[in-house]
Symmetry: D2
Subunit: 154 residues, 4 copies
């Protein structure tokens, strides 16, 4: 279902989010998988990402960040699929206007772990607004947080 042109666009989007956004670099967010319908991201725990130092728990702001990145990348992939007929210039302009309108994070369990995995999927894809659901798990499969994001696309 996904054309070579779409794949190229996703590569460019991934490059922007993962390589060119300074804060994502500071955290160390890595790409695992990226398709037309969702994304999977990885983050290795380290001292600087801790919120609660007594229990060594991931800061809730890190959780919010990686879930927002997962949601934003997924909204961008959905936009590429929907707007494939546009010229590259138009599509690029539309994508540059992508932004988070609102974000809800539900913190389910303490962010304990060595590796964290964020995933996202589209639950509403419209001409102007895309809504995504996100999840954060650790390397043992423990479900740490849920997210819901509303994104403006183009």
């Amino acid at each position: 279902m996904t054309s070579p042109r779409q794949q190229k666009w996703r590569q460019a989007i991934a490059d922007t989010f993962i390589q060119k956004m300074p804060f994502n670099q500071l955290l160390g967010i890595e790409l695992v998988d990226y398709s037309a319908t969702g994304v999977s991201l990885k983050l290795a725990m380290r001292e600087e990402l801790i919120g609660n130092p007594v229990h060594g728990i991931l800061h809730g702001g890190v959780t919010a960040t990686i879930l927002d990145v997962a949601g934003g990348m997924t909204a961008a992939a959905a936009a590429v699929q929907r707007m494939e007929h546009l010229s590259s210039k138009e599509l690029s302009q539309r994508l540059s206007k992508t932004g988070t309108i609102d974000l809800r994070i539900d913190y389910l369990r303490p962010g304990v772990g060595e590796l964290f995995f964020a995933s996202a999927e589209v639950i509403r894809s419209g001409n102007k607004v895309t809504v995504t659901r996100m999840e954060l798990h650790n390397q043992a499969g423990t479900h740490i947080a849920f997210g819901t994001g509303t994104y403006l696309v183009g």
Copy 2:
């Protein structure tokens, strides 16, 4: 309305959030003011906190982080006021169980600026759950984001 004992507790809480949480140190969050009913935090823009590199805009995850910190500190201050009759040991135990249940961020305008100020106030204070509203402005007074946080306290 605020006793010396409450002030001491707030100093200890502020010390924990601002000095001892590694991720807040990584971001550079500073305390401006802290009372029984709210908090004001400050954050200086720098390269590493940027999300959109083309327009030099604060990453939405930084916004979520500082608003969550403001909400959590405000919920803790409300808990101290409500539980002042407890022994220090009990109060300390209760506070150590403070945590974010859920968080909603509304992104109103691009996070452009040199200095950002986060503030929070209590809108529901119960025995178990405190709800706070948060706002982020830049140094020019531009309103960048709203937040709503639900916190478990003790």
Copy 3:
């Protein structure tokens, strides 16, 4: 700041929401005031609107309904102001596509009272999406609930 044409449009919108939406009629929602920047609605308590029968408390679904109506009317008023240059036909088409994308309600205190007042204001007004904040108070001024709504407009 508000032209006669805008006022006429708001009258038409109010007529749609208050007179022509069956569920708003079932609840008995009434209009108090409607301007370019916000709305005020009124609802009289009665037996059928109760959730908790022991304490005679307004059902949380009624709170959600009236706050969503207040937010939607406010988003529509903002759209009228922004799109006043359009022809009546175009504006009408745009308004007919107005819809709630997401809604958050924070229940602060039990909905006890004889009369309830809902108000809303715009906190983000864009070409495609409007975000509003809503509040519910009773006749004594007790603050019962907060709302945040994200609306698609045109």
Copy 4:
């Protein structure tokens, strides 16, 4: 996993929500299934529940109401399972304090249909706070809305 005592409690809770809450009666909410981990509710479309009269679409407030009821009943079932060791008097007192703290509804598609089904499941169950996810579908399986609710229990 579910004891006869738990089943009796759930029957009593269902009776309260479905038979004794006037607003749920006004809407016509019916119980389909109720277990320790979730609930399924049914609602037949009728004229009075319409929001948009042109397209005959369910009012967003009805969606919010039935999803909140589904979430609240599920939170109560989780509380019964967790507090089964309590005396009936204590459990009854705890349950009477159940209430919605906050609710988020994501409207995915227009509420078109003849029958609507709401379901809920627990995603966080704590001593004080339970978080649930809810969904609304129509008789054809179309996914109309998502909900997330945070409930205070006892």
